[in-house]
Amino acid sequence: MEILIKTEGDICIVTVQEARIDAAVALEFKEAVRQLTVDAPPDVVLDLTAVTFIDSSGLGAIVATMKHLAPDRRLILAGLTPPVDKVFRLTRMDSVFKMFMTLEDALSAELN
């Protein structure tokens, strides 16, 4: 699972370089992000710009990640492509996450 991590001050950017977060890789995704964010600062931005498909397993893995990071750290989502955004909207999980259209939007909101 290709995931990059970069920390800039109080923000950690976790960039998913896979096209799919689905049943085939949901567990791997959860574990990879968990390991990468062990020492993460309070704000973790999950950059999903490269992700063009998630299913309910992928959604569950992202929710589990948020729960794991809480309460000391919060998970912010950025770069949701239309199919990914649709899954969050249909399940009403878009009300649970702070979401930004692009990584740039997320960073400028969080840095200010």
Partner: protein, 152 residues
């Protein structure tokens, strides 16, 4: 607006696994290309089928060494794409499709659901969902309201 010719009925089959589900989805979408679905319709088809197929992988063939075939048949009719998905795994509990309920979202973070979204998505996006068991075979029928075929 040009009407594509009716797509001939087709069937895709895989041996149950989450990786094979990816293959099945790819194969189905390739077979649907002549219909020229828009990206929203394509993602709807892919999501519904992913949920239905992953459910079979997880629940019908739950243990690695009980893997088996999954058949996905698609028939374009005047009211959309009719899918019939069959497997030889365990029967659905209660002999019917689970009720897909959305969990309330005014929950504490620690109480947020991590699962149970799959059937909700199928029920929300597909029509006429029906499960039946015939002998040792599970059959899931559903209709996706895209690509309405011509009459006659």
């Amino acid at each position: 607006m040009p009407h594509p010719k009716k797509l001939p009925e087709f069937e895709v089959s895989i041996t149950s696994s989450t990786r094979a589900v990816r293959d099945a989805l790819k194969q189905v979408l390739i077979r649907l290309e002549p219909l020229v679905l828009d990206p929203e319709e394509t993602s709807t088809v892919e999501l519904i089928l992913a949920e239905a197929l992953n459910n079979i992988v997880e629940h019908a063939y739950p243990v690695a060494d009980t893997s088996g075939p999954i058949y996905i048949r698609c028939d374009q009719k005047t009211d959309g794409l009719h899918f019939r998905i069959r497997d030889n795994g365990r029967a659905m509990p209660d002999g019917q499709v689970p009720v897909g309920r959305i969990q309330p979202c005014d929950l504490e973070t620690s109480d947020l659901p991590e699962g149970g979204f799959g059937w909700f998505l199928i029920e929300d996006l597909a029509k006429d969902t029906r499960y039946s068991r015939n002998g040792q075979e599970n059959q899931l029928d559903l209709r996706i309201a895209v690509a309405y075929g011509q009459t006659g």
